[in-house]
Symmetry: C2
Subunit: 189 residues, 2 copies
Amino acid sequence: MRCEVPLDKAYLLMNHGPVTLVSSAAGGVDNVMAASWTMPLDFDPPKVAVVIDSQTRTRALVTASGEFVINIPASTQHDAVLAAGHYSGQNVDKFAQCGLGKARAAKVAAPLVEGCLAWLECKVLPRPDNETRHDLFLAEVVAAWADDSVFSHGRWHFSEDGPTSLHYLAGGQFFMTGTPLHGRMPEEA
Amino acid sequence: MRCEVPLDKAYLLMNHGPVTLVSSAAGGVDNVMAASWTMPLDFDPPKVAVVIDSQTRTRALVTASGEFVINIPASTQHDAVLAAGHYSGQNVDKFAQCGLGKARAAKVAAPLVEGCLAWLECKVLPRPDNETRHDLFLAEVVAAWADDSVFSHGRWHFSEDGPTSLHYLAGGQFFMTGTPLHGRMPEEA
């Protein structure tokens, strides 16, 4: 079930470096692209950074709307993530082409991608120099959601035979998010 | 064995979102901190983005030197990563405190952290507005290295019983980099 994540916990949805899908909408058109180059930028209010290439349809929609959603796909969606990274929204309806469904977001016009594990609704913090020179967008997270079967109480908890998040290398190769490992905090030493 | 990674492949060392150690040096002092908030920013020449809090000793050393190294720690180094995230270099010799060794880098004064899986030597691209407002540093990668037992020919290849890279959540909890998963690229469909 999709449950709201408190904004001060939103960074935890991305802190472990998963591949993401960035969804966007403007003027009645929507799109989705794959993005590994994204990271948290601040805790509270939560902010994120993401690279959005100037040649993409997503870039035009994000620039027009000042909004996007960062979706954290499930490992079962690996082929849809590759399709979202392969096709251009200039030519096709990416959601249909990738077999991805849409749900309504709470605070932005960009849709949530169905079947994902978590969602961060974002509003762009305009930084024209970053955008022009580095294709780098900074944004504030205004709402966050997670599937409570894998994320609750500020923690990811993947089951052994269930979906995990994904980490992308290149050329179609992902890694699943692996075994949890609890380190010993220094104060416990 | 530590082998040079061609600069146009350097982004692959970070593309899957591992936790990192950021090492720095200036005026005969060095330091190391843990950082999950880092990502690739460009392919060739390779660039990276990393958040370095204004209160850290690392921030002072990076500002003074304009250089740092992003080190990708091995899963066996989990307690050292937590120690590097816990202690402040204002008060202690972080390398000694964390039990981490140093090796000489090729193009920057900051040391490479021994025992890590990969290393990206970086020179800061000054962006004062990002640094002041967001603690966000952009840098160009000027040399890159990887342990060829886990990364070669532009690919990570972890063995089942060997070390992997790590992904950090919070509160001492990591995930190991998990099972490889080869998606089907659209052109193969």
